[in-house]
Symmetry: C2
Subunit: 143 residues, 2 copies
């Protein structure tokens, strides 16, 4: 198998299936000149992603401009494959008259803290790939 | 338990233990004005992280300036806790006389492709937190 065969680009429909199946991902955002990354609980609403957040860095970043990148992944130890889906897009803080969109989604704060703000990520680009895990060092360690 | 008790900030030593124990994380970087995030295989070398990459976006970003954010996480379904460690820092492409630092690490490309470039992330900030997963919707679904 050639190197290029190892990397399988997922059709966008499969990316959305994976996004709908999961609930935990990582959000990258910028705050002034700083680059941040943080785990979030999210849910898919139509062709957008929603998450809840308290006032803080994430919300401040959204108010300032809101370009974000978001990633989910999963590792299948049985088939030794990893799958990763990346969403690049813009985030905006939903006004009160739209925030109810989160009410019927499987979306809860991961913390017991109050997170009254709902943020929507509108994707500009959704890409996914599946690739075999070549982990020779696992074998090396047990040799 | 109050909300603030739910979130446990990890001591930096524990962050490094987790970083040494894992090998798969997500790298956020900027490319000109674009924000990207991608899964990488990494290894700890002293108080730095190393990863291998082919020529491409990641390497180009490193050459352009190299501020990055990196995240690992794990979910313990038994205790219903999630742990996340974030490294913010700068990345640089190691010259040939330093790239050998990767040779004895459990660091291999995840793909079978040739990835001859070694990049070092020098942390500016290492933070970690552990928090309970409050996932009422899982119960909702099975009620």
């Amino acid at each position: 198998m050639s190197a290029s065969d190892d990397l399988y680009e997922l059709p966008v429909e499969e990316c959305w299936e994976l996004l709908r199946a999961q609930e935990f991902g990582r959000l990258a955002f910028t705050l002034v000149d700083e680059l941040h990354i943080t785990p979030i609980n999210y849910a898919v609403d139509g062709e957008t992603l929603l998450f809840r957040t308290a006032a803080g860095n994430k919300l401040f970043s959204v108010e300032l401009g809101g370009e974000v990148a978001f990633e989910i992944d999963e590792i299948d130890d049985e088939t030794e494959q990893a799958t990763s889906v990346v969403v690049r897009g813009s985030a905006r803080h939903l006004e009160e008259d739209e925030a109810h969109r989160a009410d019927n989604l499987p979306l809860r704060p991961w913390l017991g803290t109050d997170k009254p703000n709902v943020v929507e990520i509108a994707p500009v680009e959704v890409t996914g790939r599946r690739f075999p895990l070549s982990r020779p060092w696992l074998r090396m360690r047990t040799d």
